[in-house]
Assembly symmetry: C2
Homo-oligomer: 135 residues x 2
Amino acid sequence: MVRKKSTELTSAEQKVMQVLWQHGPCSVKTITAELNKQAALAYTTVQTLCRILLDKGHVQCEKQGKAFIYQAITVQQEARTQALTVLLKRFFAGSPTLLAQHLLEQPLPAELQQELQAQIDAQAKHAATTEKQER
Amino acid sequence: MVRKKSTELTSAEQKVMQVLWQHGPCSVKTITAELNKQAALAYTTVQTLCRILLDKGHVQCEKQGKAFIYQAITVQQEARTQALTVLLKRFFAGSPTLLAQHLLEQPLPAELQQELQAQIDAQAKHAATTEKQER
DNA sequence: TAACACCTACTAAAGAATTAGTTTTAAATC
DNA sequence: GATTTAAAACTAATTCTTTAGTAGGTGTTA
């Protein structure tokens, strides 16, 4: 059976995208240097990843002097949403309610709960203020 | 370079686990039937997936009559937490704050926001009640 | 202009994932 | 006991992923 080819970001690809999102347009050299802060990875490996990302349409590139400068096309926001949607489908039976419950009830990455709560408080405060002003 | 072998759940494996989580211990036949509600997949394919899950230690099995009955070892809760942690690392630079922001600010899977808020409200109410009782 | 550095393009290889066919085994039934 | 049948075990092929080496081109500089 033929497998449909995906355009989803693989693990290694995601790491490259991360660099591009954080640093803006980069050469392979820069990306490699950035990735090597975490774990050794050959220049040519990064180059291959860039080519794949180009094939999949996640980045575009443009020659600047000797080197190509790669730039993310896929915006981080979208990638995040997509990733969250997949997560939701796979692990939470597609139910946002379950994710919400899990986020709030589970001793998750620990800080997350607090952060969530803080966000929520800020949001609530803002909403309240807005409401007052609207009257 | 040698790749470290992962025990992470792949996409196809996750689907099998989903069935086991939802239905409890199942035979390959049952899993196949369940998965085929979504898309056709050969019995032997599911069998292979079960073997892999066994290798990776996510399920255990036990002969019952002619067939093996597979049972999830990895609990859904843990898989969820792990998946969320990976997501956090990959797409939110490991920052729970960013995830929280994204969840609340982004027109995400739409309902999620509302559900989150509802969860939050319920939680807040509960907390308030508990607080009163503790006094 | 020759040497060097740097970069791309091409090639490659091994492991993982996905899918499923074939063979064997064992249980059930006639 | 022989035959049928259902399941496991084994095998396999294709694609994806990850990793990186080598060859070749081009710009810079001594």
